[in-house]
């Protein structure tokens, strides 16, 4: 096992940040922790990177205990905290050189690993890190976390605050790193990124709701989902809320994802109800459940 958690709990005063969490990450796996802000993702990362000590439970990273063998873990993992944590007053190149030196290596030695990412920021290597755009900063941070060729990479919300194009590029890079045999534990609040992981853990309020492959998680969704559209989104939400058979509904892009309490739901009936209430251009279509739907269902 690359990462192994057994019954990990951690509280800050009276607030229980993570409660009795256990999961395993296989070597070479791209594992995602999916959950909203405040779910306990960062706390888990800090326990695994030996920055915090759990109140209860045991955890291993690459076979080393996070409390006893913390020194060995610190040598062999790469960590990218949620907040941009490089030296803003150092240039791109200086940052990278610095992290290479403190890990006892050089940029040249492991250039192969970071090459694809580094070429994108190389034109700006004389620029101070604080003056980079969000996407560039994340790429630099990833380079710095990778420069010592870690066995396990911990990425805490690496794409938060990054534009969609850079996000996509970032995930492509993670996929390539995975092929090079690096185990990756990544957290994200974006459900669409979850689908790109090998396996994901849905986490909320410090508890794991489910762990499985994205495909299986979606498959387990118990109900049929309908995409409902209308010209007046606000009215549509109001009316659906008042509808007696509504099981769940929440906005999803330009549509509302709707599920019904009954198994023998007839879309025509809903259409009539909505039309009666003065809504226009109504569309009702079956759609496939997404990870977000599953999450909302499990989090209920």
């Amino acid at each position: 096992m690359s990462i192994n958690l057994e019954h990990i709990s951690k509280s800050y005063g009276k607030v229980e940040a993570v409660k009795n969490i256990s999961f395993k990450v296989n070597p070479g796996e791209l594992f995602g922790l999916i959950g909203p802000d405040g779910a306990g993702k960062t706390t888990l990362f800090r326990i695994l990177t030996t920055l915090l000590i759990a109140d209860e439970g045991k955890a291993n990273v690459t076979g080393f205990d996070v409390v006893k063998d913390y020194k060995n873990i610190r040598k062999s993992v790469g960590y990218m905290p949620g907040k941009f944590s490089l030296y803003q007053d150092l240039t791109v190149e200086e940052n990278l050189t610095f992290f290479a030196t403190i890990f006892g290596t050089t940029i040249e030695e492991n250039y192969e690993l970071i090459k694809e990412i580094y070429v994108q920021i190389e034109p700006f290597k004389k620029r101070r890190a604080g003056k980079l755009s969000g996407g560039m900063k994340q790429k630099l941070a990833l380079c710095c976390a990778l420069i010592h060729k870690p066995k396990v990479l911990f990425l805490d919300e690496p794409t938060t605050g990054v534009d969609p194009v850079s996000r996509k590029e970032f995930w492509e890079m993670l996929k390539r790193l995975q092929q090079k045999g690096i185990t990756i534990l990544v957290s994200t609040p974006y459900m669409d990124e979850a689908a790109l992981c090998d396996r994901i853990a849905l986490i909320q309020d410090g508890e794991i709701l489910e762990i499985d492959t994205p495909a299986n998680i979606v498959k387990h969704f118990p109900k049929t989902i309908y995409n409902i559209g209308s010209k007046d989104m606000y009215e549509l939400l109001q009316k659906l809320k008042e509808f007696e058979h509504t099981y769940s509904m929440y906005p999803f892009g330009e549509f509302v994802h709707y599920t019904d309490k009954r198994d023998n739901f007839n879309p025509t009936e809903l259409r009539q109800y909505l039309e009666k209430n003065g809504l226009q251009n109504i569309t009702i279509e079956k759609t496939k459940a997404t990870i977000e739907d599953t999450f909302m269902e499990l989090a209920k």
């Binding site: 800090r46 990177t49 030996t50 920055l51 915090l52 000590i53 913390y70 020194k71 610190r74 040598k75 993992v77 960590y79 905290p81 907040k83 941009f84 944590s85 490089l86 030296y87 803003q88 007053d89 150092l90 200086e94 050189t97 610095f98 992290f99 030196t101 403190i102 890990f103 006892g104 710095c144």
Partner: protein, 368 residues
């Protein structure tokens, strides 16, 4: 070793790229030493006084002449009547008025004594005191000259001699103090700020999750400041020697060694402050309030320790600056060596070891 050098290189980048801290580092020592040396002084020079002479005879003329001939006073105005005294003080220019009684000369010869009233503006008590002392001294020396020939039956004549600073230059008192303050501030405040900055920006998290050992991080952080503080100490000593003509009676080498010890004490304090503060602002406040004030008030820099209430005297013993000031004054003014300063040096060394030990013990290898 390579790691360590890389770390120190990074620290120097931080320092030289932050214009503000660079200014504090090198601007402050020079500004402070010049300020204390030139502007803040206890000496009096050319103080304006006024004279109200009711006799206008030979003796008063001689005395007035003697007073105006000294560098300490310049006669601003001659008053005509008693009521002028109040108004001339209210204008604020005149700091003292000498009021000679009527028939000054006659009284002196006939009754063997006559009176001169010295009225001083005591809104500034120190100056008022000094002025009245100086006037007294001038009068005494005048009398002495007059009585040269006649011998008195009994006479006690005090012969005062001010040693180590015969001209009573206040800059001699300020230089050791300012040097202490600056070394303390630069070392303690700058290190505590630079360590807490890593915490605040989140880079400490990455440094912790790296093979760097805690002591490597700490030494790496403080090393540049040892270097810069030594430069500062040299600048201060050079300034005080060449601009203020301050003597260094003792060994410069010993002064250097003692300064390095004090710098390390301050750095250890800075590390300690950084372990208890989470933000740069707290670190700065603690350094300023917790270090600067005691150094100014309790170290004997401005107010003599011996005239403090006993509880404060006891407290002053735990302030490293107190011992360093004693050492600096000893070396620069008295020219004494280690055989007289070993006790103070030992206390300072003890404090250094204690603070370093405490800060390494308190340094967190994790986030909490």
């Amino acid at each position: 070793m390579k790691r360590f050098i890389g770390f120190i290189k990074k620290e120097f980048y931080h320092i030289f790229r932050d214009k503000r801290s660079l200014f504090i580092l090198f601007g402050m020592p020079i500004a402070q030493i010049l300020l204390f040396g030139f502007a803040i002084t206890n000496e009096i020079n050319n103080v304006d006084i006024a004279i109200l002479d009711h006799s206008k005879d030979v003796t008063t003329k001689e005395i007035i002449h003697k007073i105006s001939a000294s560098n300490y006073f310049s006669i601003h105005q001659f008053l005509e009547k008693e009521s002028d005294i109040e108004s001339v003080f209210k204008k604020g220019k005149v700091k003292a008025v000498l009021n000679f009684e009527k028939d000054f000369s006659k009284n002196l010869i006939k009754e063997n004594h006559s009176t001169i009233q010295v009225i001083t503006d005591a809104t500034d008590p120190n100056t008022a005191n000094t002025i009245s002392n100086y006037v007294n001294a001038i009068l005494q020396s005048y009398l002495k000259e007059q009585n040269k020939n006649s011998t008195m039956a009994y006479q006690i004549r005090p012969q005062t001699r001010m040693v180590y600073n015969p001209e009573l230059k206040s800059v001699y008192m300020f230089v050791p103090g300012v040097m202490t303050i600056i070394l303390m501030l630069v070392s303690a405040m700058m290190t505590s700020i630079s360590i807490t900055r890593e915490k605040e920006l989140g880079t400490m998290e990455i440094l912790l999750v790296s093979p760097l050992k805690p002591f490597q991080v700490i030494i790496g952080k403080v090393f540049p400041y040892i270097f810069l503080s030594i430069i500062n100490a040299i600048v201060i000593i050079v300034l005080s020697i060449f601009i203020f003509k301050m003597p260094v009676q003792g060994s410069l080498f010993l002064l250097g060694i003692e300064s390095v010890i004090f710098i390390i004490t301050s750095l250890a304090l800075g590390i300690l402050i950084s372990t208890i503060s989470a933000t740069q602002q707290t670190a700065m406040m603690i350094s300023l309030m917790g270090l600067m004030l005691p150094v100014i008030l309790l170290s004997g820099f401005i107010f003599p320790v011996s005239s403090m209430p006993v509880p404060l005297q006891v407290i002053s013993n735990v302030i490293p600056a107190k011992w360093f000031i004693i050492i600096v004054k000893g070396i620069m003014l008295k020219g004494v060596g280690l055989q007289f300063l070993w006790k103070e040096t030992l206390i300072l060394l003890g404090m250094t070891v204690f603070f370093i030990g405490l800060s390494i013990k308190k340094y967190k290898i994790r986030l909490e």
